[in-house]
């Protein structure tokens, strides 16, 4: 049996959650391992598990203390019991779970009206707006994790030439805004205070609680942006409401 090449560390996220940590970094193979373990634990839940939450390089299991303690005979804590159970499961490499590989194309209008911060990148980066758009739409981005807001996807990795620090103070940010923070990119699903540098806006609805699949994106997706004009933006928005 092949041992998995990853080093797992465990730490308590309080007394009712345990985090499996693969290293404090943004790295595709680590994230792929996290996602497959996430699906593994979803399919074969751990004792007392309430839910599992994948992040860049960690997976957190929330559990019901009482439900775990019921299983324990030897006086150990729920935390210890679960840690051992997880360790046993991690010894086995994941049977390649059938995770649907999805590529999601997202139209973005990069025109000034929707891109309040794009010019802020032009000067320090010595780069034209056209270059920023070309670079942002050139690569595809992996959804490393969901968080912050319902349906908010943390995507990476953004090319160094257009990476930008967060704002020092959050400002009002419109739903659909496409932003950059460090070498991550993301889309605000809702109107919200936000600290990412906004370079465009998508007419697509990222979060719709009325749908069975309420989030357009999910962890593990591959996202590709493409530029649209303002006319196309409004056309797409209109079409959505007609449907």
């Amino acid at each position: 049996m092949a041992l998995t090449p990853f080093i797992y560390e465990f730490f308590a996220l309080g007394d009712a959650a345990i985090t499996i940590d693969l290293g404090n970094r943004i790295d595709k193979p680590l994230n792929e391992e996290i996602i497959s373990r996430y699906y593994q634990f979803k399919q074969e839940p751990l004792t007392g598990m309430i839910e599992a939450v994948p992040a860049y390089s960690s997976l957190t299991i929330y559990y019901d203390i009482a439900a775990v303690r019921k299983k324990i005979q030897d006086g150990s804590t729920a935390f210890e019991y679960l840690r051992k159970e997880i360790e046993r499961k991690l010894l086995r490499p994941v049977q390649t779970t059938n995770i649907e590989k999805r590529v999601v194309d997202i139209p973005v209008c990069y025109e000034s009206e929707f891109a309040p911060d794009i010019d802020k990148l032009v000067i320090p980066k010595k780069i034209s707006r056209e270059e920023i758009i070309r670079i942002h739409t050139f690569s595809s981005y992996r959804v490393y994790m969901m968080g912050f807001l319902p349906g908010f996807a943390y995507m990476g990795v953004v090319d160094e030439s257009i990476s930008a620090p967060r704002k020092t103070q959050p400002v009002r940010t419109a739903a659909g805004s496409v932003g950059i923070a460090g070498n991550q990119t993301g889309i605000y699903p809702l109107d919200s205070p936000g600290g990412w540098q906004i370079i465009g806006r998508t007419p697509l609805e990222l979060f719709d609680p009325g749908k069975q699949e309420f989030s357009l994106l999910r962890t593990g997706d591959e996202v590709k942006f493409y530029a649209i004009s303002k006319d196309e933006f409004y056309q797409l928005k209109k079409n959505k409401y007609r449907r």
């Binding site: 730490f11 996220l13 309080g14 007394d15 992040a55 009482a66 994790m145 609680p209």
Partner: protein, 328 residues
Amino acid sequence: MSLTVIKQGLQDTLQDAGRWGHQAEGINPTGAMDQYTMKVANILVGNDPVETVIEMHFPASAFLFTQPALIALAGADFAASINGEPVPYLHPIMVGKNDVLQFHKPLSGARSYLAINGGIAASEWLGSSSTNLKASIGGFAGRNLRKEDELLTCQPSIAMYMPQHEYRVLPWKADIRWPDEHTGILVLPGREWEQLTQESKENFTMTSFLITRQSDRMGYRLNNIPLHRLTNEEVVSSAVSFGTIQLLPDGRLIILTADHQTTGGYPRVAHVISAHHSKLAQYQPGDKVQFQFTNHAKAEELFLKQRQYLQQLQNACTLRLKEFLHAG
């Protein structure tokens, strides 16, 4: 109709045990800040302990009952009255048609709970009726209660079958003091605790910290002596939970509570144990919080003790209510 909001409160929402199971999609659990007290309120009126309740902050809403109801108040004492006469917390109360429930003064605590027998009808999403203010979903139209909102009960209240009379405080009271000898807030060390300087570590446990006005259902900002880490290493975002104490870039601390984001990238100094979430939820800006470290064994033991106490309370209250209804 069952009750109508006749005066809007500061931030009163419908809440339950929270919306669990979707944090992986960025859906934060929300739910009542003080789960223990929410359960006490429900138990007093014979509901499932996690039935939907109204969570109130001061100034709280005023309500007009349009039908008889069996209600109970628990949590922060806001000097409640019915038709202008003071009524106690932690007692079941029979209210009649046209009775008016009001709150006058914040005497203690931060959050007050109103439970109604039969449960409050609320819009559910993903198995929970908790209000998610950010996503504008769940509870009452996904928002705070406003003047003229009309709330219904899920099932006809047992009060409907009682003879019409003046409002009446039933003669038994829930004692909510579960056996816990700790005055401070017990915590477990967080992932980055060991990265703090020795001085910062001492400050964390030796000093009590003021809870600032920048505190709400998302979290409490503390006015602590700035703490420092031995490293500048950035923390890659990962899951956080109710009670996670994060170190902000300016050295201050924030304790995450019910409406926290699902993930965070600030260093995790410590975590408040589950059994002390209720106590934490009743702190107000201006109160001081004192942390004290414990271990898993103790944290779990306290959690089980609290849960067991609640079970005993439920047994006792169910019995009293049954006897009362039987006697008519």
